[in-house]
């Protein structure tokens, strides 16, 4: 079977084209993450979503906000579990439950909305609010003179929210 050299050349170029665009998207992701406070966290969040391969900056911001949402749901489950095993922490855990519900029910939809409707400033507000809420949860244990069992979870949420916020800031 004889392959035309032109066909081979065409296929090679096609393959290279895909390679280039994949590299270019990866470059966008890497450069974007360099502008956030947690490069590695940002990379793992964005690369975990296959949509990031074809996303523009707004798309990457939306992916980061969805990561905040997922994190929020997981934290809410953790809070429910903690309530069962640590009833002495109920008051602080209840406050934490409230604020994290706020994150998934208010902050995340606000940010997604703002990114879709074309006014990223309000998306930044939503992620800034998320960071405040996670800090408020952490402090509610101190307010009750108790040790927080959620320090890692709250820090993780704050970090993801700050990554999302940093990406959104690049859109301003």
């Amino acid at each position: 079977m004889k392959s035309s050299p032109l066909t081979i050349l065409f296929l090679v170029l096609l393959f290279q084209e895909n390679l280039f665009s994949a590299t270019a998207d990866r470059l966008l992701i890497e450069n974007t993450c360099k502008g956030t406070p947690s490069y590695n966290l940002c990379l793992s969040v964005l690369l975990a979503d296959p949509h990031s391969q074809n996303a523009d900056l707004t798309g990457l911001a939306i992916i980061a906000v969805y990561a905040v949402k997922n994190n929020g749901y997981q934290t809410l489950q953790q809070i429910e579990a903690l309530k069962k095993f640590h009833p002495e922490l109920m008051a602080a855990l209840t406050q934490c439950g409230e604020v994290y519900k706020g994150v998934v029910d208010v902050d995340v939809p606000l940010s997604i909305n703002a990114l879709n409707l074309g006014n990223p400033k309000f998306a930044e507000d939503g992620m800034a609010d998320t960071a405040v809420e996670s800090q408020a949860c952490e402090r509610s244990f101190q307010d009750h003179a108790q040790t927080s069992p959620m320090t890692n979870a709250n820090k993780a949420m704050e970090d993801v929210a700050n990554v999302a916020r940093a990406i959104i800031r690049m859109l301003l």
């Binding site: 749901y73 809410l76 489950q77 429910e80 309530k83 009833p87 002495e88 109920m90 008051a91 209840t94 406050q95 409230e98 604020v99 519900k101 706020g102 998934v104 029910d105 208010v106 902050d107 939809p109 606000l110 997604i112 909305n113 703002a114 879709n116 409707l117 074309g118 006014n119 400033k121 309000f122 507000d125 939503g126 609010d129 405040v132 809420e133 800090q135 408020a136 402090r139 509610s140 307010d143 009750h144 003179a145 859109l171 301003l172």
Partner: protein, 646 residues
């Protein structure tokens, strides 16, 4: 293209806030959750809750809100798999509540957080413009027309957070008492489907009114649209018509689809055309594009820009207007001439502050140059050193003044806004004139109509406040106040003092608790009697090595509330004090907003304050002097402020 429209629609639908975010009704117990409960259990639970409600009410002091007994909730805790749509506020911050005590033996009476209905209800203002509920942002199209002041505003009718925005509308005879009207413009066209965004009104010489506003199209492109009253003879201008040929402007080449918004009021050019400016950016340079038009339907983009400042980012809500060099009145936007300077103002998207600069306008070239390039737009003076954004002026031909409106956002959490059911205020409208004494800044002052709310004056004449002391001012109440005061530091002390390098910064120097030789001194507003919560507004005077004094004016939120989820920044700036001037301060306290003015409006600070204890009958006003070296003599007038229809 249509495929992307439905994609966009879908994503908007799925991301819309759940409609069940109804605000907590006043005084009612929260529902707990909305899982259905069997009816026999319901009766038992009802009786138990009534008993416990009565018991806890008896145990309560000064209504922090009813306690929701814990067992009611634990019997019906929602599973996390199906998230209940309502936020289920549980115990409402009652430290003395029956159930909470057993879990927090270490707590005293100080845990008044989280937010009770009482605390949240108190936050609503008495004389600041705000819709009955839900979210507001930028003021739009302010105008005096046919005997009425009109204010339109960015409004989200569905929730107390930003979303798909429409134009809210209200009218007033006096800028203080308002009648709310139906929504003026909805997102009912493809060219404003994602939002009816900010715009301005222009009154034509024949009395006609036109509005230009930004629409965010179904594909999130920012375009400019023309609208006008459906019935110009209706003084309330209830119904509006969108020009069928919209949009009248789309982003020009080189300008991003999302960097083209907030058209200004138009002014006349020497050729007799109308001219507007629209903010934008190129990379990180904030710019202002200029368009000429004869009919508001077709526009010509001028070659150059009105002005640009590198590094300032996107310019939102650009405003451009003349001020008189000598006169005390405001000027119609079209006025020009030798006795006139021009102000360019922009809202900086990057740092959420409003900046302005005074300069000279060349009407033939369509260009403006700042008097002082080191204080250019975005890098120099701010209208206000607190929370103040998206502001817009209009020429009030009724009283020949230029009036400034601004959006004052919340600085609490979104969750609190959802709970209380509303978010955002407008600042008290201010008049703007050139500061004739300094010639290098404007002064802003609350419109005189606000004085009509003053009642019940208490005068504190010549109060000497010794170094390091606090003077309670005995007042019938302290949540709605107009405070006008003058201060004098001891002259001999100032002369004796050695000067030093002045490195004071309101935000960074520890607030009112950080003592200096000649400051801080001023008022503590919304103060609890033990100062567990208080908001100092103060002067800080510093003497330089050259013997000259510098005066700073600050508002300190760091101890404003026991809550751990509100902004506790300290705001402020230097205020020019000229020879022979006394230190003068005016403060408007209106529940969760405090507006402070120094030297008759040379420096202004707007703060949002959310106390948990210093509310209702427990809010007080103090004079304080935390300077180490000098006593301070204060003369104070305090009025109670009546509520307006807002």
């Amino acid at each position: 293209m249509m495929a992307s429209l439905s994609d966009v629609e879908n994503s908007i639908t799925t991301s819309t806030l759940p409609y069940s975010y109804a605000p907590l009704p006043n005084g009612e117990q929260p529902a707990g959750n909305d899982r259905p409960v069997h009816s026999s259990r319901k009766t038992a639970l009802f009786l138990v809750s009534v008993f416990l409600a009565v018991a806890s009410l008896v145990a309560l002091f000064a209504g922090n809100g009813p306690v929701l007994p814990k067992n009611l909730n634990t019997s019906a805790v929602p599973s996390t798999a199906g998230m209940p749509e309502k936020v289920a506020p549980l115990s409402r911050g009652v430290e003395k509540g029956v159930s909470e005590k057993s879990f927090h033996p270490l707590l005293g009476a100080d845990n008044s957080f989280p937010w009770s209905n009482n605390m949240l209800d108190w936050q609503r203002t008495a004389f600041h413009f705000q819709p009955k509920k839900n979210w507001m942002n930028d003021p739009n199209g302010p105008v005096f027309y046919n005997g009425w002041y009109h204010l339109f505003y960015q409004y989200h009718p569905d929730a107390p957070v930003w979303g798909k925005i429409v134009w809210g509308h209200a009218v007033s005879k006096d800028l203080i008492n308002w009648r709310h009207l139906p929504i003026a413009m909805e997102t009912d066209e493809w060219y404003d489907e994602q939002g009816v965004w900010t715009g301005s009104a222009t009154i034509l010489p024949n009395g006609e009114l036109v509005v230009l506003y930004t629409g965010s199209t179904n594909e999130s492109v920012q375009v400019q649209n023309l609208a006008y009253p459906a019935d110009p003879s209706d003084p309330l201008l209830i119904k509006w018509v969108k020009y069928p040929g919209n949009p009248v402007l789309v982003p020009p080449p080189g300008i991003d689809n999302k960097d083209f918004r907030d058209p200004t009021t138009a002014w006349k050019t020497p050729e007799g055309k109308w001219r507007i400016t629209i903010g934008s950016k190129i990379n990180k340079t904030g710019i202002s594009l200029v368009y000429d038009t004869e009919d508001f339907k077709t526009f010509e983009l001028l070659d150059g820009l009105l002005h640009a400042v590198p590094g300032t980012g996107m310019w939102e809500c650009v405003d451009f207007y003349p001020i008189s060099k000598q006169g005390e009145n405001g000027l119609d936007t079209s006025v020009d001439g030798p006795g006139v300077k021009h102000v360019v103002k922009a809202s900086m998207d990057d740092d959420r502050n409003d900046y302005y600069a005074i300069g000279t306008y060349d009407a033939y070239k369509g260009k403006w140059t700042p008097d002082n390039p080191t204080l250019d737009v975005g890098i120099g003076l701010r209208y206000d050193y607190g929370i103040y954004y998206a502001s817009k002026t209009f020429y009030d031909q009724n009283k020949q003044r230029r009036v400034l409106w601004s959006w004052i956002k919340e600085t609490d959490t979104e969750a609190s806004d959802i709970k209380k059911g509303w978010a955002s205020l407008m600042g008290v409208p201010r008049t703007i004139v050139l500061d004739k004494k300094t010639q290098s800044n404007i002064i802003q002052w609350p419109v005189e109509e606000i004085n009509l709310l003053r009642t019940n004056l208490t005068v504190f004449k010549t109060v000497v406040v010794e170094s390091g002391s606090l003077v309670p001012l005995n007042l019938p109440s302290a949540s709605q106040l107009d405070i006008v005061a003058e201060f004098e530091v001891d002259k001999k002390t100032v002369e004796r003092l050695n000067g030093a390098d002045i490195a004071y910064d309101c935000a960074k120097n520890g607030g009112a608790a950080q003592r200096g030789a000649l400051g801080p001194f001023g008022f503590s507003v919304l103060a609890h009697e033990g100062l567990a919560e208080h908001t100092p507004v103060y002067f800080y005077v510093a003497k330089g090595v050259d013997g000259n004094l510098q005066t700073f004016f600050c508002a300190d939120q760091s101890r404003s509330s026991n809550a751990n989820d509100v902004d506790k920044s300290i705001y402020g700036s230097i205020v020019p004090v000229l020879k022979g001037e006394k230190l003068a301060m005016r403060i408007l306290v209106d529940h969760s907003i405090v507006e402070s003015f120094a030297q008759e409006g040379r420096t202004c600070i707007t703060s949002r304050v959310y106390p948990t204890k210093a509310i209702n009958n427990n809010a007080q006003l103090f004079l304080f002097n935390n300077a180490t070296a000098t006593k301070v003599t204060a003369s104070v007038n305090v009025w109670q402020m009546n509520s307006a229809h807002v």
